[in-house]
């Protein structure tokens, strides 16, 4: 096996970095990150205010006017004692007309069904169509309806055959609404995105040499073909921690606390090498961007889906590291990933050598 010269690798890597900087495409990538970060944080604010209106101060002391129509019930008492609502006893037609003119936030109709009747209690809830306020009122009313359901259920308890295992779960005190979305989806996806970008980039870099016919010039220098390939892999590999690190910083600036950021960068960088090397192999095989990118992106979906199906996959590890529940198993995962990288690296080296030999002889 021909030994790779470090100096040659760094020449190639530097050349690629210069290319990226010259074209200012890297600026686009950074801009893109900022854009997504901005959008996600705005999205968070929007969604939180939609689902947990009390998180926005301006909603917290607002009492919504609702009309209660029909027959009396325990529900009326619950509504009247709730700090969120101001209840008016009204007649249904008037109430609905007032709702249409937005003088009310909701109208509730209660039929004449006894709490212990055989039939269910069917109430009718009128709200304004397609409206942000209705969504908020729905959320607040839901709590009261649940309380009323519990009361009715207790009255009818004797008619149940089986009782579920009792478990008292305290109501969570605000916050944490989008914790799962942020840590269990956003963070692994965003942090892993640079790995995907880099592996697509390596295809561009290699196929470009073929399609722009600049390969001959490169090979005529003392740099060997495998060195050129590894230089490109190195350049793309180095981009990953830079970009992923930017993500982490952006997320933290947005007030999302992330634990173990060093270990996260390590895991991402190492596992990205798998994708980069798959990209390299595909690019070396096809030597043409359209075909290589097509095969690679299809393969990528297969690889990522397969990885996700396995417990303790690198992506899951990113989530666990970010929330601080990763244990010693992370080193095992790292080891497995390393083993795959060494195997892929060996194949890449052999393949590059063979191409170089074919080139010399043919």
């Amino acid at each position: 096996m021909a030994w790779l010269k470090g100096r040659h690798l760094s020449i190639i890597a530097k050349k690629e970095f210069r290319g990226l900087l010259n074209e200012r495409t890297i600026l686009l990538a950074v801009l893109l990150q900022l854009f997504i970060a901005l959008f996600s944080s705005f999205l968070m604010v929007g969604l939180t205010s939609m689902y947990d209106p009390s998180s926005l101060s301006k909603y917290s002391h607002y009492r919504y006017s609702v009309a209660y129509t029909g027959n009396d019930s325990q529900l009326l008492t619950y509504l009247q004692t709730s700090p969120d609502f101001r209840v008016y006893r009204m007649d249904l037609s008037t109430a609905v007309a007032a709702l249409g003119q937005r003088k009310l936030a909701a109208v509730i109709y209660m039929p004449d069904t006894r709490p212990d009747a055989l039939d269910p209690v069917k109430i009718t809830l009128y709200t304004v169509q397609n409206d942000l306020q209705s969504a908020i009122v729905d959320v607040k009313l839901k709590d009261i309806f649940l309380k009323f359901e519990q009361t009715l259920r207790q009255i009818r308890e004797g008619r149940l055959d089986v009782q579920p295992l009792p478990l008292q779960i305290p109501a969570s005190t605000g916050g944490g609404d989008f914790y799962e979305f942020v840590y269990g989806l956003l963070i692994p996806l965003l942090v892993f995105m640079p790995a995907i970008i880099s592996s697509a980039l390596v295809i561009d870099l290699i196929t470009e040499e073929y399609q722009h016919e600049t390969l001959e010039t490169l090979i005529s220098t003392p740099i060997t073909f495998p060195e050129m390939v590894w230089g490109k892999v190195l350049a793309c590999g180095l981009l990953v921690p830079i970009q992923a690190g930017t993500w982490l910083v952006l997320l933290m600036v947005n007030g999302i606390a992330i634990q173990n950021s060093g270990l996260i960068l390590l895991q991402v960088t190492v596992s990205s090498l798998i994708l980069i090397m798959i990209g390299t192999l595909v690019a070396l095989h096809y030597r043409e961007r359209t075909a290589a990118q097509f095969i690679f992106s299809t393969g990528l979906v297969v690889v990522i889906l397969l990885a996700l199906a396995v417990p303790s996959n690198p992506l899951n590890l990113l989530t666990r590291l970010a929330v601080g529940t990763a244990g010693a198993e992370q080193w095992l995962v790292l080891g497995v990933v390393m083993a795959i990288i060494i195997a892929l690296g060996y194949v890449t080296q052999k393949y590059a050598e063979r191409i170089a030999k074919d080139h010399m002889t043919g």
Binding site: T94, G100, Y179, L305, L315
Partner: protein, 601 residues
Amino acid sequence: MSTPTDIATIARWEVKKSFSMMSRDVLPLAIILFVLLVLVTGFTAQTGLHLQDGMYRVGVDDPQVAQLIASDARFSVYQLDASTLNADRNAFDVIIVRGQGSSLGTDKANAALKTLSRDYGKYVNSIYNTETDLFAAYPLWIDSESVKSELSFLSTQSGQYISAAPSRVAPVPEGIVQNIPTPSPTLSITEDQLRAQLVQSNAQNTQISRYTDVLTSSSGMGNFKTPSQLSPPLPFDSIILVFIFIFPLYFTSQFFMMSIMNERIERKGEILLSTPVKASSIIIGKALPYFIGMLVICTGLTLYLRAPLLILLPLIPIIFFFLANALLIGMLSRSFKELSFISIFFSTVATSYLFFPSIFANVHVISLISPLTLIVLTIQGSAWTVTDYLYSTSLFWLTGAVLFYIAAKNFKDERLFSEKPLATRVREFLSEILPPKYPFTSLFLLSGFSIPFVFMVQMMCLVLFFNLPMPYSLVFLLLFAALIEEFAKGIGIYTIFSRDAAFFTWKNLVIASGATAFGFLVAEKLLLFITIAQISDSVFGSILFLSLGSLWLPLMLHFAGVLIVATCLKLGGKRWFVPGLTIAMVVHCLYNLYFILGWLG
């Protein structure tokens, strides 16, 4: 040869070329990968997605409870006795001792509690669903009725509530009160049907089907819900739509992009260009197979999902828009890296534009600026009108058409095979549609045609800033809206200036500014009257499109803005473009403030 024959010939070539390229040795591997994909999807569906495994630590003293919780992989469950749990309290997000849960109080613990209570609710429902007396387990049913607001929705969107301040006496509606029939006290469906629905909705709440719900929502059960089913629609549902419909489109447009790029690299385009075939025919011919391909993919997906074919209607402008952008990106980028990054950038921005509004599909009319919302609505079975369609798709049609026009004008040797930096190339592309012979007419047209882009970017800002607390959203919107407009107006002047600075004598400068301002105003009014009247009535809209009233005032404003930029260019050279824009933006903002908030007066 006639134009249609030319187009057909080029379309055939394009298909043949991509097939010969594909069949080399891509096809066998592609088939293998496709089979693998199906297998892996099946495998993953069976094992579940292990992305959020072990996020939370829960300590439990009861083995039965431990088993119950451990069925959700998000929890790492530790079964220990009560005293150990209490002693080691901080190691767990939640502990459950003798059936009583308590949390650590952190955000993470709160999230764990929420997941836990959702899981427990599911478990309880699974028990209740089997009860013989269903109405003892589910004694309360809610029938949701929506009332159409008689006031415009816009009054509430800025966060102000129009509902009168709560008072002691019940509100009295104005006008004639229509009689509302008393709702029937009984459910119109049988107990068995309800049970089936409950079982189904309980089973649905899994990790993957949470996202697929929207596609298979069976609204056959009417509006009856138990209180726990009463919640606003999950916004993440539309994520799945983005992936299902938008991703293949993006993927296919990549091929188009590459085909254009390859023409340039391999210089095959030159041969084509030397024939008497018109540039527009070449472009249409090359785009046609991809357009048809994308349409076929979408139709296939729609049929597969058994969704109404009506959803193709909003998809067509999206396809058109994607192709126009792909064409221009393929023509603009100098290398593969640049192509990759620009196309990733474009797809992210386009996807956000499509996706973010649509998550508010059932909540707010602002969601209609995305055609995706129409798809969500169609799948839900809600109707939309022709106006809705125009409203959400017209910007896609218009911008697509303008981009195609720019591309057609530039589809020639010296543009396709030049190696200049991106910004210069963009300027050259614009320069091409500003013929020196008719500088003023073309400035008028350019600034007119920039309107759909301006609206699109401003809509994006509207979505972006909509979620900020009230004063900030207004301030940001004010600044950005002004900047975007001034930029759009200034770009034509800048292009002509960098081509021929001597052209701008003072007289020409004034005429050019006038033409630009006039073009901007005319197009703005036209588009507004067709589509955006709804949004333009709101506080937000009044900033974006303030000027429906008198016409000469906005004309003066536009004129002043362009004049400032042009004067800066003339006096200071190209370096003064950005400072000129800034000054124009400030002037624009002051004008807006004066009219909206009545400042200065």
